[in-house]
């Protein structure tokens, strides 16, 4: 049963396991350093659909299909699905899961949704109110551009702090098992807003939230960054990653080279013209489900703090001159049920 420790963290005593997972990407993701780890790559970013929104829902269907089939599950074995995306009213998830008949909880955590959905799925399984729970998120470069920025063919320049929305989706089925990766703890983040207003610099807007959640978790669990093999943030990109390390340094927390960022892992920033790195719900989700979870399962990575970060603004709030509130949720994933050296 989940136990609250400190002010923000829940320890999952039954350590639910990520039973199976699937990751989908498109052309640009396949050309990145992690391209070969994806389960499904469709070089056609429309995924054969007539609109970008339908393409995004298709990606959700594919990643959920992969996660189910890799674990030999049927949709009716899943007790509850936690899903969300960046589109207005979360239509990527709603239309993607429409035909599956799984009880559905729609979430909005912007790009933090993978950690948010995974945390809730793990809590549901840990407290035994669900046997199997699904966590899935997606983002699509083209549907995000048209909603948040300019039409695709509009000739504008992106500033160097801008990030590239990942076209991808990741899905996890969480349940009880003796096989890794295990979910050991989750920390629900608080909204942090230090007054960044530039929607082209979301890494900077989200970094304080990530710093806060990480320091909450470390304080709640009385652990240090050295106790983990990797502290993986969602999509801070190059600017936000630098800021995170500076912010934590001020609190005397040294990540000591253990910090990685999904937005920096997924693309080759020198070759792929993505400016400050990747972003979007699909960024953290697809990197987690393609690259990180298999490594934890094999045991090459022991303990990973997965901290997906989100910027909770909308085009309306940006236009009205509001600053960008950031959020970060943390999931402690591990290859073992107990910490190394303890018990």
């Amino acid at each position: 049963m989940a136990v609250k420790t400190g002010n923000h963290t829940y320890l999952l005593e039954n350590t639910p396991s990520v039973l199976s997972f699937g990751a989908v990407g498109s052309k640009k993701e396949s050309e990145g350093p992690l391209g070969r780890y994806f389960d499904v790559i469709n070089p056609d970013s429309s995924f054969g659909e007539s609109s970008w929104e339908k393409a995004e829902s298709k990606m959700v269907q594919i990643s959920v299909g992969q996660a189910l089939s890799k674990g030999n599950f049927e949709a009716d074995q899943i007790d509850v699905a936690f899903a969300g995306d960046l589109l207005n009213q979360c239509i990527g998830s709603a239309y993607g899961l429409r035909d599956l008949g799984i009880p559905f909880v729609g979430l909005y955590g912007a790009c933090s949704t993978m950690a948010e959905s995974l945390a809730l799925a793990a809590l549901f399984v840990d407290t035994a109110i669900a046997k199997k729970a699904l966590a899935v998120t997606s983002s699509h470069f083209c549907s995000a551009e048209r909603q948040f920025r300019f039409p695709l063919e509009y000739g504008g320049q992106r500033p160097p702090t801008a990030q590239w929305t990942v076209t991808g989706s990741g899905a996890c089925v969480v349940g009880e098992s003796d096989a890794a990766p295990f979910v050991r703890a989750v920390t629900i983040g608080c909204i942090e807003d230090l007054g960044i207003k530039d929607a082209n610099n979301m890494g900077a807007a989200m970094a304080p939230a990530a710093a806060k959640t990480i320091s909450h978790y470390l304080a709640d669990t009385r652990t240090r960054p050295e106790d983990y093999d990797m502290i993986l943030t969602g999509d801070l990109g190059q600017v936000g990653s630098a800021l995170l390390e500076q912010l934590l340094e001020q609190e005397k927390v040294d990540l000591k080279g253990r910090h990685q960022d999904c937005g920096l892992l997924i693309y080759d920033r020198k070759q792929q013209d993505v400016h400050a790195g990747g972003s979007g719900c699909g960024c953290a989700a697809s990197v987690l489900c393609s690259f990180i979870l298999p490594k934890i399962r094999q045991g090459t990575l022991g303990d990973v703090l997965f901290v997906a970060t989100g910027a909770l603004m909308s085009p309306t709030s940006s236009m009205q001159g509001e600053s960008i509130p950031g959020i970060a949720h943390l999931v402690h994933l591990s290859s073992g049920r107990r910490r190394k050296g303890v018990e």
């Binding site: 007539s50 609109s51 048209r146 300019f150 039409p151 695709l152 063919e153 509009y154 000739g155 504008g156 320049q157 992106r158 500033p159 160097p160 702090t161 230090l194 960044i196 610099n201 900077a204 970094a207 190059q238 600017v239 630098a242 800021l243 500076q246 400050a276």
Partner: protein
């Protein structure tokens, strides 16, 4: 702190490219203009044909998925001339085609260029009044 962490745009490179591409577009315009005048058109008619052909070229390149790739490097070089205005009309028209011809193309076509048209017209009214009163 966030400003220090943010890399700056490559200002000199951007300005040079904007100058070169913007200059090239204007040179093409002047070329068309001179050609039309050589064919015996008046300066006014030649100017109209020049604008039309540049708008046509810009719209065509937008439709062929080229304009944004040029603009990525050229910046203000492609934005400031009349070609940028054409691109700002055509790109939302293409993008919002799926929402239908009335609420999609019709309503969204002016989402970027609309402010220019509105304030351009408003400014011309003000100038017209000044001219009428003091002219």
């Amino acid at each position: 702190m966030s400003q220090k962490a943010a890399p700056n745009s490559k200002l000199w490179r951007n300005m040079l490219l904007a100058f070169l591409v913007g200059g090239l577009i204007c040179t093409i315009g002047q070329g068309v203009m001179s050609w039309m005048q050589a064919l015996g058109l008046s300066r006014e008619d030649g100017g109209a044909i020049t604008s039309i052909s540049l708008i046509f070229l810009s719209a065509l390149l937008t439709g062929f998925n080229c304009y944004d790739n040029i603009a990525k490097h050229a910046g203000a070089g492609t934005l400031v001339p009349i070609t940028g205005f054409a691109n700002a009309m055509v790109s939302p028209a293409l993008e919002f085609k799926r929402e239908g011809f009335i609420l999609g193309v019709g309503a969204k076509m002016f989402s970027i260029a609309g402010p220019v048209i509105l304030y351009g017209s408003a400014a011309s009214v003000v100038y017209g009044l000044i001219l009428a009163i003091f002219g």
